[in-house]
Amino acid sequence: MLYRETGQFKSTYSADMGIFPLRQDRNALFVLLAFAFIGVPLLAHFHVWPFGSEYLLRAILLPFLILSMAAIGVNILIGYCGQISLGSGAFMAIGAYMAYKFGTGMPEIGLPPLPVLVSILLGGVCSALVGILFGIPSLRIKGLYLAVATLAAQFFFDWVFLRVAWFTNYAPSGSVSAPELNVFGWVVNEPLERYLLCLTFVTVFALIAKNLVRGNIGRQWMAIRDMDIAAELMGIRPFFAKLSAFAVSSFIVGVAGALWAFVYLGAWEPLAFSIDRSLQLLFMVIIGGLGSILGSFLGAGFILIVPIMLNLVPSELGVPLSTETISHLEFIIFGSLICFLLIKEPHGFARLVTLMKEKLRLWPFPY
């Protein structure tokens, strides 16, 4: 009754090809965006629970937004192009460290410190270049073999950022801190400002990603994913399609890495981008749904929030458990939850949303 296409006639091709052909979907998105951009700041300003607490913005919404963006990047590579990557953490690290280098300047080649926004994007570009380099093996190998090849990137860059002092501006502790976040004269400092900056990035990149995967290049990626030999016979160049997927994916992941370091962490060391981060991103796209932008958000939310909840529940309930036991329990529950979800819905949350929409179209008279 509420959600169906009855009476919505398309009179132009562009209306027919819109991202959200249904008016209800469009409206829902506008409401969501309005809430995220205007509602949350207002609620936070007037200290309405739960938005009044800094904790929610700083420890949940901020990482959620940034990791969603990284998950979109990973989803482009794995979900749309079918190239499994376990090196996403490394690409985040490249984005972060190169953005740091651009942001603090490179006197060796006479480069002055660049504005923060430019450095973040340039960090993404560097990450894209390395992504192309490590994507070359994908022309010959695929599947889990490729996953191991991308692991090489992960371990190699872990080592590089730990050992090559140039990347950390010769900081003796190996830990670096981000330059001042000055966006066109607006100094981003408060959690709310950080949230808005990340939200803008995520909105823009999600829109770009959604349009890329709907367009020519996205169709090429999907053809490669479904069967690369057949795609090649149909005239799709695997070389271009695979490497472009690696480039776009690593670019988005790299920008997300730069945001993670600059906006969320502030000061960081290579450990922030270890193999665990790569696996976390992989979980997000699998649990959220391969080949779905919406799924990236759902997966990121789930993977991020469940451990926080698991951590909070015992202390809230007043169960006397040592922190060690809680962390072990967290492992056990999280692991079994993942197995359970994979068994019950191997196509992720995105599939559940699709099914729900199908049901909703027939509601309340399903016959």
Partner: protein, 364 residues
Amino acid sequence: MTALSIAIPGGIGAILAGLMFTLLRGDRKSAIDLAVHIFLAVVMAVFLAFLAAKAIDNPGGFLEILVGGLLSGVLYSLVALGFVLIFKASGVFNYAQGAMVLVAGLALVRSLDFLTASGVATVVAVPLAILFSGAVMALCAFVIEKWVLRPLLNQDGLTLFMSTIGATFVLEGLAQMVFGSEVYPLKLFPTDPMILLESVFPGGILVNKLDVWGGVIAGVLVAALALFFQYTKTGRALRAVADDHAAAQSVGIPISWIWFIVWLVAGIVALVAATVWGTKLGIQFSIVFLALKALPVLIIGGFTSVPGAIVGGLIVGAGEKLAELYIGELIGGGIEYWFAYVLALAVLLVRPQGLFGEKIIERI
């Protein structure tokens, strides 16, 4: 360096480069492939020539590192072996192998501690503890097969892989909760060093007895596995399943039973790895990272080949020790951390199926 020590390795390197080039010409496809091959051949030749030069300079020291590296590679081989068994039989890329080593090790060391503390003689306690940890591994195999793999039958490889990561979390959490999460020393084998070939080289070659024990045990294990696969009914069924699931099922082989067996065998291999590794460094959480080290070993040896896992482990073990010592000093140490992966990457570019793997043939 004398002229000789430059000339000989230079010659060896050139020959190797030429050899590799001709070997690879057969299946080259494009100019990029060719360029990659030549580049890799040159890099490899330079690396080998460099090693050869070092070897000629100080043969005793070189051999010592080589033997030490090979013997520590045995451990990688053992973990990789568990991977290969499961991958062959069920097509599952088992990330949980490292966690299984941890579970086996913890079960062994804790039950051993318990038994000795309650006054059981060591001669009795050790077999009992081994039996107990074997039973724990059987339980793991049963649970994983029943609750993770069977419901995921016919899903694609990535989903199965992710489910084994989920299983890894559960195993890690459970094992540490039940058995504790500290470093537990294990003393099953002698760990004192011994000196070999003293008459040949000045000072001889220093080898740890434990490493030798590890090598012997791995050899025995592989022989036992080979016999098991070759001559028992279950072994034949295992090989049939590895060859073709559907065909094996159609002649009446119970697939889920076979999968249980295969996970059990992998668990026992993990137990053996845990005894050697635990004696070396104590049973501790960091053992799970062994699984990550075993991945490049698999790539180098081939996912489906048992001899490949052994040889791959030896290559990685020796290669990373030599590289750490001789190249690490040039570019700042710690390259042990990624050397195996970069080596695997190089192998992937030249022989995607690994040194011993079957050639991957694709049909539309």
